[in-house]
Amino acid sequence: MAEKKKRHINADILFKAAASFCAALIFIIMAGILIELFRGSHLAISKFGFSFLTSQQWNPVTQQFGALSSIYGTLVSTAIAMLIAVPLSLVIALFLVELAPPALSRPVGYAIELLAAIPSIIYGMWGLFVFAPFLSQYVQPLLKKYLGFTPFFQGPPMGIGMLTAGIILSLMILPFISAVMRDVFQMVPAVVKESAFGMGATTWEVTRKVTIRYGMQGLIGASFLGLGRAIGETMAVTFVIGNDHRISASLFAAGNSIASTLANEFAEASDKLYLNSLIELGLVLFLITLLIQIAAQLWLKRLQKTVGSQ
């Protein structure tokens, strides 16, 4: 009996050790990514130093590499995506929680969630062969006609470019943001809303003055999560952004993002410095997403605490 108990204890120690190791593996992988990307880019880091981040040059022939155009493209395409996706997600969440009858809310919510299940390469193909021609034929000429006096909508409406990448990104992050926003709206206590309705407020007034105010922090957290997703999205952007290392103000123009440059040029990178520069691009992207994710998690965690204590 004692013998058996001892064996049990040994097996349990092993069990706990294995589980702890697998949990620690998450840390090990994150640290590993940081170390490997630093190691893989040391040539570029020592050669270009800080100017890697500020130089527009990206020329494999002259061996000059600067990340500025890729960083710019990443930020601009993400900004377009956020500008479209955040308000759209907000009203979709509003529709699902406050307006739609349950019989409609469930299937619609489900359809929106399915947008998240579609692989990003499908978005890319659809974007390149279907959506970009559609934009260049119907939407971009209109934008040019009415908004062409601004620097953002100039140049030939080719379909592919920064604007298209931003729109497709917004579709991809929409389900993530609206799902969290929906949860936030549902967390608002019914009593609070009902008392506002009881005073004769309309649905929109209740939403604007009660629901959104109550859930503000959660809504910001949801947007952060979407931001983190958009910034590292690769395949969909690679297909439609046009892959050009020039920076131009026009959103019709082709550009590139960090992720699209990696996907596009990795196979061509024959020499060491080129490869190192690409890996350094990856390092920059990793650090940006790490910052955003950590900020988002801390924010949501704080939110849980305040909601939990109420």
């Binding site: 204890i9 092993l14 069990f15 706990k16 589980a19 702890s20 697998c22 949990a23 593996l25 998450i26 840390f27 994150m30 590993g32 990514i33 990307l37 893989g40 759209l88 009203v91 979709i92 529709f95 307006l99 489900y110 359809a111 929106i112 399915l114 947008l115 299940a117 579609i118 692989p119 390469i121 499908i122 193909m125 659809w126 390149l128 062969f129 389900p175 609206s178 309309t202 649905t203 983190g228 590292g232 999205e233 690769t234 690679t238 297909f239 992720a259 990696l262 996907a263 990795f266 196979a267 890996i279 990856g282 992207l285 990793f286 997403t289 790490l290 955003i292 994710q293 950590i294 998690q297």
Partner: protein, 281 residues
């Protein structure tokens, strides 16, 4: 206090109602549009040859992507063999040992951050780790990259599902003298079975459509996958290469492959969600 007429308030209300219904409609329109285009264009490429033949050079009809289908299956199964046990054990740690500990809180935090790391970065990491050091692209490098993406997803759902198991069950199992591992595997796991399976299937559905992490790890190839240490053809990278090529028939094949991947991923998704809903009832 300023008073606004009931009319303007009602108009504002109805505008927002209309806008939000329109937004939901826009979401659905795009979903249907994508599904429709991929189905129509992809269906033209599907034939027995598509599933059972090797690729042909552009211009020569009768080719298929049988090698890529096989390669994708091999990579995903290997990824699951690595990612599922580690992910579940990490989730077990979080749920059963790490609820109150500081290490558990750190792991939970890192796990959430890890879920947001772009998949192309994971691909780059595995490239420097396994491809540069060994000198060749390989199926196992691709599988490791996908497993790293699965790990945090499975850990999270496992923790969530195990937390749903009532504590009384845990205590009862331990009270009759069963060791911790046995209580976990044969009592708690059994209670959380359907949830755990759902988590695993959803994670597999997610990585099935991944392209970016395979670009630098498994790469691609025009032949049958012969060994796990060689570049391995797979559907998603094939779609990328073919769709970006200037050849009509290759683009056609890419649509076919896109339809196959999309149908598989969506079917897996819908099936698991439906079965989860059944289980909840």
């Amino acid at each position: 206090m300023k008073r606004r007429s009931g009319k303007s308030r009602k108009i504002a209300d109805w505008t927002v109602r209309a806008l939000s219904s329109l937004a939901a409609l826009i979401g659905i329109v795009f979903l249907v549009w994508i599904l429709y285009e991929v189905t129509i264009r992809g269906a033209k490429a599907l034939s027995p040859d598509f599933f059972f033949k090797l690729p042909t050079p552009p211009g020569i009809p009768g080719g298929g992507v049988a090698n890529a289908i096989l390669g994708t299956l091999v990579i995903i199964i290997m990824a699951a063999l690595i990612g599922v046990p580690t992910g579940i054990l990490a989730g077990v740690y979080l749920s059963e040992f790490g609820q109150e500990t500081r290490f558990g809180a750190y792991v939970r935090f890192a796990n959430n951050v890890m879920m947001g790391v772009p998949s192309i970065i994971v691909g780059l990491f595995v490239y420097t780790l396994l491809v540069l050091s060994t000198g060749h692209f390989s199926a196992y490098a691709g599988a490791v990259a996908l497993a790293i993406i699965m790990l945090p997803v499975i850990a999270r759902t496992t923790e969530d599902m195990l937390q749903l198991v009532p504590n009384g069950l845990r205590e009862a199992a331990l009270a009759i003298g069963s060791p911790r591992w046995k209580a976990t595997f044969s009592v708690i796991f059994r209670a959380a079975k359907s949830g755990l399976i759902t988590g695993v299937l959803l994670a597999m559905a997610r990585v099935s459509g991944e392209t970016a992490p395979l670009l630098f790890t498994a790469m691609n190839g025009p032949y049958w996958p012969r060994s796990l240490t060689q570049p391995t053809p797979n559907l998603t990278v094939t779609i990328f290469n073919y769709a970006m090529s200037p050849y009509r028939d290759w683009q056609q094949t890419a649509w076919g492959a896109a339809l196959v991947i999309m149908a598989a991923v969506l079917a897996l998704n819908i099936f698991t969600r439906l079965s989860l809903r059944e289980a909840k009832k």
